[in-house]
Symmetry: C2
């Protein structure tokens, strides 16, 4: 029985328990009518069938904005998203003589609205259609790399056909790991302007210190406006463009939510791994994450060691060191969370029960899938290390990039690997140019020593002849090789890199250099790895649907629907406002107030609340935007909504579909939620719309915008 | 009307409100019958008159132990106090081959109980008598230094007379700032032995990281036993000694407390400033604490700068740097707390109202007091800086110490200043010896540059001719003077210091040295300062009673009694178990559980819970020691009891007088409570006796001790 039908049967049998459903799930809009009963039981008061249609309100008001999500809040294209999602737009318009990052921005009128950086995009979804049969037609009967290529080619054809009509950007989304494919059609709005941004110390109050933290006191919102050509079509910036009339816009609620109240959220979550196999969970917890923590620790130590007593090296590697530390923190946090939730055991037990209920034929395919996954896992540490060689170095990366570009550029543009096509040249050039400011020979040799040193310790099966030939098998041979390479290379000179870039993008031979010479065999080895990976990916695309079918049946037997893992497509989550008790004896209320802004204020960034805000808090006039039960102004609130990266800027709606909040972060305990949703600990953090309204009414007034959003000036 | 009578009148008039009384107060036992009504209203179920008698149970079981408090818990002298109070005893008995700090200690029987370090004392209060008239008789009609000296001499006479009887140690305690004086008679038990100590990772779980923190998970307790000579008298350690039979011992409760339950605590709080004048509050917040923070910041920067690139200097100054940082943190925390509570405004408004209700004659004395306090305050920054010169340096301190010792030693021992008598010689020698390991010339010059540099900026009225002559008035003259002094001094050599020590303690002239030569005029200047301070102290002793009388009357009109500020004498506080909400949206429950031990466990000190503890938690057998409402083992709990330094080890009793907890810390927000008790934020942290019982039953068993305390083995 197909999953939808099994689910419908389960619904008819009244098997649903709201408790099992209310917390977890990033639902495709089209699924919502399947889960109407639990949604209503959780408190939803609207029409689920309307909600399930991406071309009707409220979902037609929800768009992709920059790297996150946004929502239209007026009929004239006014768009609400996070301050951090719109940060590039704000930065682009900031000038030494008028620093709008620090001071914030309120457009004096429509003519004062400021163009965004040219690459900022708003994507309005106008179509979402199932194309599974078309995508899989040519792949049936194939295996491995051939299966992968057939799916890839079919997807590219669908996109090309779809974009022929013009004005729309198309893509094919893979749902349930190869089970289903959808064609997504989106209007690409390119003229987006800055309308209202709070000062940095409101929009990013607390910055890195408060990042992932609750309780929170951040006004992380910004208003943009989308413009189109006078005939209503997407267009580059032009002073003659007119505000875009969106298919729908959200109405901001006059009241807020309380603990236990229904809430839902729509947005574009990036990637989750919830439906991965128990083997993959185990690999993540016992190998991948510990390996990542260990190698990041070693890289951090190497960079810090290289910077000791050398201020210039410290400056050049400051950003990379920060990024390594963030990556290390994320990996350690994810590991800690998965262990705390005992995710591997729980996933394993659930899978074991599922397999016991699965027909033998399907189990055979799942066994085949496990074999493929084990093959990939066996190469995991090598792929991690060689990936870091290509991302954490400057000259070595440049050499690999140039050699690969040279190879790809010998082929017609359409056949080149993504990332090496003509459209990618500017990005590659940028990487080659900036190497200049981020490189010191001793530091790069130290990083390479860590990465290749660890690579040398890998078992034979993971190692590659080209790398062994280049660096030998001992610390001494590695040190000699690096000394020779970095003493001889001229790639530290920007002109040397750029002249080779000019040759590489035309597919011409590259001028001689020790690193370039080495890149030849290394890139050839990387291509072998890439081929093996695509072959495994093809097998996974072919075999994972069996696992998903088993899961659909198992969940249906439990009365539960299955959402697809996040993949950057529009999803809806629902749940409720909920407190957090992350540790013994600690409870965090689900609503914060302006009192916390004053408590955190030190006068020093990132806790340097602006004087007008502190004065307004001291005045204490919160009429119309206060939370009556607290007798003061709410700032942020907390829900158990299911979110991940990409949900930044997602509108949070109440039971009647009104806009009550703006999602902008998660708590630290949620870092592991991309793999495992632990209802005790997974929370999402939102700006309370009443805080935005109060700021726009009382602190940095913008009465015309409030009126445009249909809100009272107070 | 005397305060006691005014209070009684207020009680008769039914003016007491329990809300106003329940939180704040370190009551003298004798006062308790005055506040019987609010105590009973708060939930006390015992007989207040019995409680008020220090010679009857339960207070006769409460003793001074080391630097804190302890309580007898068996008829055979078994004494319960904190692990950190008994730390010296544990350390004294630890050996490389048997590290009982790390591993803990359980005596195999009485003969295995280990003697404490010789200076560890247990003091049992056997008498507490008012001697006000005797103390003040000779002082009446005097002023200033003469008043001070008369009080000092009378007190010394009382002590000498009292100790003639032998076996008791006597002291005179000044209550209400010169209003009342009490003679305290205490048995001094000198043979105290270690009986039971948990491992360091239980007794000090979390160490500095968790210090001042709640939620907490520390088993900060240790059991000692007091011994006396076979004829029952205090004696030095001897194998022939026998367990001391205390006048009373506390019974450990079988059950625990819950939020809102009555609790009380007895102990020896060190010093508080609650009844200081509004001017003194203002000076503390606007001058003293900011000055302390600023000068500690400057000293920290100087030490860190001196240690840059010099590992030897960093080692020598590591302990001092840590201490400077702790002092800085404490001062900043106190300042932050007093500002947060708006203590100055509240104290000022209360005082203004009090003065309006005070007769003119008393107001005149209070005005005179304010003048004296202003004189002291005007010298505050100088006294801070010169005090730090004498405490934060090594060679300069040594020179000042030697010169002062030489001067004092010329007088009969009984007339020498406290700290320079024969009994103090060992301590002085210790200071002079250890200078060796804690000194580096560049660092000491940097510290002196900070302190004298700031001193040079003071207004003329605060400066002293001797210091100006020594260091000049400019940075250049200071640098020259320090260069000359430290280039020429031989005090960096231990033998040079000790030979001068031998001369100084005999009152002989000291061998020539630039620092010694300088110490002559500097000590003379210090003596002038000391004389001025004692004169002001005399005036305060004479005049503060007027302020206290005004306060007694004012509080009585509000239906409130007045406790004396803490002064190291036995006090009783009462209140209740209470949660803490220190910041917006944050609530900490008042009870922690073993789950938190596991959550905090990292395997690395200070969060390295011992394996037997983790195993026992995993087994989950908490029968008889669990908290039924939580279904697990409680560890620590939180009350609003009024405590300060010295209350470490105080027994916490329930409404029936049974022992339910052991006080060991406060929350960080309480750092400012020595000046201002903010009921929203002041909390005390206790070991739940059920945690101790569980550890002694299940984890590190000591069935004989449980039996001795009248407790079941489980």
């Amino acid at each position: 029985m197909p999953p939808r039908r099994l689910l419908a049967a389960a619904l008819l049998m009244g098997l649903f328990t709201t408790a099992a459903q209310a917390d977890e799930g990033m639902w495709m809009p089209g699924q919502l009518s399947d889960i109407a009963a639990p949604m209503r039981a959780a408190g939803f008061r609207g029409d689920v069938r309307t909600l399930a249609d991406v071309t009707r309100p409220p979902l037609s008001a929800v768009v992709r904005a920059g790297g996150g999500t946004g929502a239209f809040v007026s009929g004239d294209g006014l768009l609400l998203t996070n301050h951090h999602v719109a940060y590039g737009v704000i930065q682009y318009n900031s000038r030494p003589e008028r620093d709008i990052i620090e001071g914030g921005f309120i457009a004096a009128g429509r003519s004062d609205e400021r163009p965004s950086n040219p690459d900022f995009r708003v994507l309005v979804t106008v179509g979402f259609d199932r194309v599974t049969d078309t995508v899989l037609e040519a792949a049936r009967g194939l295996q491995g790399r051939a299966y992968f290529d057939a799916v890839d080619a079919a997807s590219k054809r669908i996109v090309a056909d779809c974009e022929q009509a013009g004005d729309v950007r198309c893509s094919v989304a893979n749902m349930y790991y190869g089970t289903d494919f959808y064609r997504i059609r989106q209007l690409e709005l390119r003229d987006v302007r800055l309308v209202y941004a709070p000062p940095r110390a409101i929009g990013n109050y607390g910055d890195e210190i408060d990042n992932f933290m609750w309780p929170r006191h951040t006004g992380d919102f910004t208003l943009l406006r989308a413009y189109v050509s006078p005939d209503g079509r997407p267009a580059d910036y032009s002073p003659y463009n007119v505000p875009y009339a969106p298919p729908a816009h959200l109405q901001i609620a006059r009241t807020g939510l309380h603990a236990g109240d229904f809430a839902m959220l729509a947005g574009y979550p990036g990637v989750t791994f919830r439906h991965r196999t128990a083997d993959e969970f185990e690999a993540q917890v016992t190998r991948t994450l510990p390996q990542r923590v260990a190698v990041f620790d070693a890289l951090i130590a190497a960079v810090e060691q290289a910077g000791q007593g050398d201020a210039d090296v410290r400056t050049r590697y400051a950003a990379q060191l920060q990024s390594l530390k963030n990556n290390r923190k994320r990996a350690a946090g994810e590991l800690e969370g998965l262990r705390r939730s005992d995710a591997v055991t729980q996933r394993r037990e659930d899978e074991r029960a599922m397999l016991a209920a699965t027909p033998a034929a399907t189990r055979g395919e799942i066994d085949a899938l496990r074999t493929v996954l084990a093959e990939g896992d066996a190469m995991g540490e090598r792929d991690l290390l060689l990936g870091l060689v290509a991302s954490q170095t400057q000259l070595m990366r440049a050499a690999l990039l140039l050699e690969r570009l040279r190879l790809e550029s010998a082929r017609p543009d359409g056949e080149r690997e993504t990332g090496y096509q003509r459209r990618d040249h500017a990005l590659i050039e940028g990487v080659l140019r900036q190497a200049q400011r981020r490189y010191a020979p001793a530091a790069e040799k130290a990083l390479m020593t860590v990465l290749i040193g660890r690579y040398q310790q890998l078992p034979d099966a993971q190692r590659l002849p080209a790398f062994d030939a280049a660096f030998g098998r001992t610390p001494e041979s590695l040190a000699r090789a690096l000394d020779t390479l970095y003493a001889g290379t001229r790639l530290g000179d920007e002109a040397e890199r750029l002249s080779r870039f000019a040759a590489a993008r035309d597919g011409r031979a590259l001028a001689d250099d020790p690193l370039i010479a080495l890149a030849g065999p290394l890139v050839a080895a990387q291509l072998e790895i890439e081929h093996a990976r695509k072959s495994r990916d093809g097998e996974q695309l072919r075999l994972r649907p069996a696992y998903m079918q088993a899961l659909f049946a198992w969940r249906a037997s439990q009365g539960r629907a299955v959402y697809p893992d996040a993949n950057g497509t529009l999803r809806v989550s629902y749940g409720r406002v909920e407190a957090l008790s992350p540790r013994d004896a600690v409870t965090y209320a689900p609503v914060t107030t302006v009192a916390g802004i004053v408590e955190k204020h030190t006068g020093q960034a990132p806790f340097d609340a602006p004087r007008p805000l502190l004065d307004a808090i001291a005045r204490g006039d919160f009429t119309g935007t206060d939370e009556p039960s607290l007798g003061t102004q709410p700032v942020n609130f907390l829900t158990n909504l299911d979110t991940t990266g990409g949900n930044s800027g997602s509108p949070v709606l109440n039971a009647r579909g009104e806009l009550v909040g703006l999602n902008f972060d998660s708590n630290w305990e949620s870092v592991s939620a991309s793999w495992w949703f632990d209802p005790r600990l997974k929370r999402a953090i939102h700006v309370d719309m009443r805080y935005m309204r109060w700021l726009m009414a009382e602190v940095y007034p913008a009465p015309a915008l409030l009126e445009e959003m249909g809100l009272p000036a107070r």
